[in-house]
């Protein structure tokens, strides 16, 4: 029973402030999509609207062909895993897991059987009679997961489920969540502010900012081909160098950075180049050379990264971070040029 989730033109307000701006996402049946962004970007608001805890100002939410928008939360049939686990402190682990089944009028014998089976799947069968207060964070989140899964919901939602766990457990748990989600083929929406977590667990990731989706794509595309300056910066393109086209000669475009440094870029390798654009690179996307065509710079602080030396580079276009090869050591204060590596650069529209 896998269905898709469709969120259409969602807008939401807190008082006068608009927190979601015409947001649309569709999650295919069995797919896991993450909403990724810093706090206040609207990711949790989106999840709360889908869950039925908040009413949108406009737009609608559909699960398969069922319109959820006006349904109360308890009628939506969504499995939810909370950041703070939200276990019922007065019920045992077993009773916590059986809670949703009880609400569905399932007989107590069946409830016990299904809750036990689910607890076995998450490896907690031996703790069935404990109260949540006696569990560790990881165990609590497993109970929360079991409680959400046992009702076999058509949609699972996760609200920063791992952010209260320590680093090692976080990695283990996210693998476990992904395995359970894949095994059940449950359509899932996952909210997190942790990029690594989102990229490792998701089929697709929506990077959000100020109530909008900046880009919704597979982790690979997001990481290698960000669609705009915001996403580029978010995924680690530290250098965003504004440039202008000054001449075109077939595929070769002559561009100029602030301060007058000129480069000849081929549209065959860089893709189409507009008149006004931003050249975005990670520190690895720039080669530090003694001389040649590039952005002239005075090298500043050098840090050893193990695989490379990282330089803070003063240029007329602002400070740029570049990773230089281990084989060629530059001293701070040396003059050099920075040469962009086409495969590791993106040509993006300038920021407004």
């Amino acid at each position: 029973m896998t269905v898709s989730l469709t969120i259409e033109n969602l807008s939401a307000h807190y008082g006068q402030t608009q927190v979601l701006k015409d947001l649309s996402i569709s999650v295919a049946a069995g797919e896991l999509v993450s909403l990724l962004g810093s706090s206040g970007c609207g990711k949790t608001t989106t999840l709360r609207i889908v869950a039925g805890f908040l009413q949108p100002t406009s737009g609608n939410v559909k699960l398969g062909d069922r319109d959820l928008t006006t349904l109360p939360a308890h009628a939506r049939d969504i499995g939810l895993v909370f950041q703070n686990y939200a276990l019922f402190p007065h019920l045992t682990v077993q009773e916590n897991v059986a809670f949703g089944l009880k609400q569905r009028g399932i007989s107590s014998a069946d409830r016990a059987k299904r809750a036990t089976a689910m607890l076995e799947r998450v490896g907690l069968a031996n703790l069935a009679d404990r109260l949540p207060g006696a569990l560790s964070g990881g165990q609590k989140q497993r109970v929360a997961l079991a409680r959400a899964l046992v009702i076999e919901p058509p949609l699972l939602m996760f609200d920063e489920p791992l952010s209260n766990l320590d680093a090692k457990l976080r990695v283990d748990m996210r693998v476990e969540i992904r395995q359970l989600q894949k095994a059940n083929g449950t359509t899932s929406l996952y909210v997190t502010h942790d990029q690594e977590e989102a990229f490792s667990i998701s089929d697709r990731v929506a990077i959000m900012n100020a109530g909008r989706i900046m880009q919704l794509d597979t982790p690979e595309v997001l990481y290698q081909k960000p669609a705009n300056a915001f996403v580029a910066r978010f995924v680690g393109f530290e250098n965003l160098i504004p440039m202008k086209t000054v001449a075109r000669d077939g595929a070769i475009v002559t561009v100029e950075a602030a301060g007058g440094a000129r480069l000849h870029l081929s549209q065959d390798v860089f893709g189409p180049i507009k008149d006004d654009f931003v050249l975005a690179t990670r520190p690895d996307g720039l080669v530090v050379r003694q001389e040649g065509e590039g952005i002239p710079t005075t090298l500043g602080t050098r840090t050893y990264l193990g695989r490379a030396y990282q330089y803070k580079c003063e240029t007329a276009a602002g400070e740029i971070t570049a990773n230089g090869a281990l084989s060629e050591l530059f001293e701070p204060g040396a003059k050099a040029v920075l040469v962009p590596v086409p495969e590791q650069c993106c040509i993006l529209a300038p920021e407004k």
């Binding site: 805890f53 939810l80 276990l87 019922f88 409680r147």
Partner: protein
């Protein structure tokens, strides 16, 4: 800080409790067993007197009814208050607690004016033509209960608001997300989690109303004596000190018994409650 110094900090309070509470209570109870007619003679005398056992049963009944009504009213009010936004919440709590700023006597006296033969309630009902002659509402169990509920509801509201506010929002949301209708969430999540507060509130109201003196004195009169008024009469009118001590001892035992029954119920409803 060493161990002794730490215990030293509790010393003033310990001395006060021992000197002013433990010793007097022990001495009071001890006197009841020193009668020449036999160790338990004062107790058999108490329980053989229909007049006195009637007062005990009445006191229990009034205290339990007051507690039950206060629990319901207090819980409903606190439930609404706990969900109010910040500013409105403070105003509501202040309003609820406002009656506590005046004394017990004043608040009980107010009911004399309301419930009296020529009181506000009777004159309103008369002028509305609902009744043709004044009702006698004073000096009944009802009048005592009404006044006591009025007296104790603020305490209940205060206790329960704190507890209900402490129930995390996401636990309630988790219940809804698992398919629990609001009424199911209330009975299976909110109510059990509020049990510790309900017990504290119930204990406060029960002990307060079981031992009350001013309210039954003013609104119950001679006909509706309670343990508190009986004790006063024994001690200050008939100077029967041993009789008064016996009443006090019975009250202490019953209070302890009821409180422990309440906490046992609490533990059954919510294994986390004390």
């Amino acid at each position: 800080m060493n161990k002794f110094a730490k215990w030293g900090l509790t010393l003033p309070a310990t001395i006060a409790v021992v000197l002013l509470l433990v010793i007097p209570v022990v001495l009071t109870i001890a006197t009841t067993f020193g009668e020449p007619k036999g160790v338990f003679s004062t107790y058999t005398a108490f329980f053989n007197s229909g007049f006195r056992t009637n007062i005990l049963y009445r006191t229990l009944r009034i205290a339990l009814i007051t507690t039950a009504i206060s629990l319901v009213i207090g819980f409903l009010t606190a439930y609404v208050i706990a969900q109010m936004p910040g500013r409105l919440k403070s105003i509501a709590i202040i309003a609820a607690v406002f009656p506590l700023l005046t004394g017990v006597v004043v608040r009980s006296f107010a009911w004399l004016i309301i419930l009296g033969k020529n009181g506000i309630l009777n004159s309103s009902l008369l002028s509305l033509g609902i009744i043709s002659e004044p009702l006698s509402m004073l000096y009944t169990e009802g009048s005592v209960i009404v006044a006591m509920v009025y007296l104790f509801v603020p305490l209940m509201i205060l206790t329960l608001t704190g507890v209900l506010e402490g129930i995390p929002r996401d636990v309630v949301e988790a219940s809804a997300s698992l398919g629990a209708k609001p009424i199911a969430t209330f009975f299976q999540v909110i109510l059990p989690l509020a049990v510790p507060g309900l017990i504290v509130g119930a204990v406060l109201v029960f002990t307060g109303s079981f031992t009350s003196y001013a309210t039954p004195q003013l609104l119950g009169g001679e006909q509706m004596m309670m343990m508190g008024t009986l004790l006063y009469q024994r001690a200050m009118v008939t100077f029967d000190w041993v009789g008064a001590s016996t009443i006090a001892a019975i009250m202490v035992v019953i209070t302890i018994a009821i409180v422990s029954i309440m906490s046992r119920i609490a533990r059954r409803l919510n294994p986390m409650a004390v």
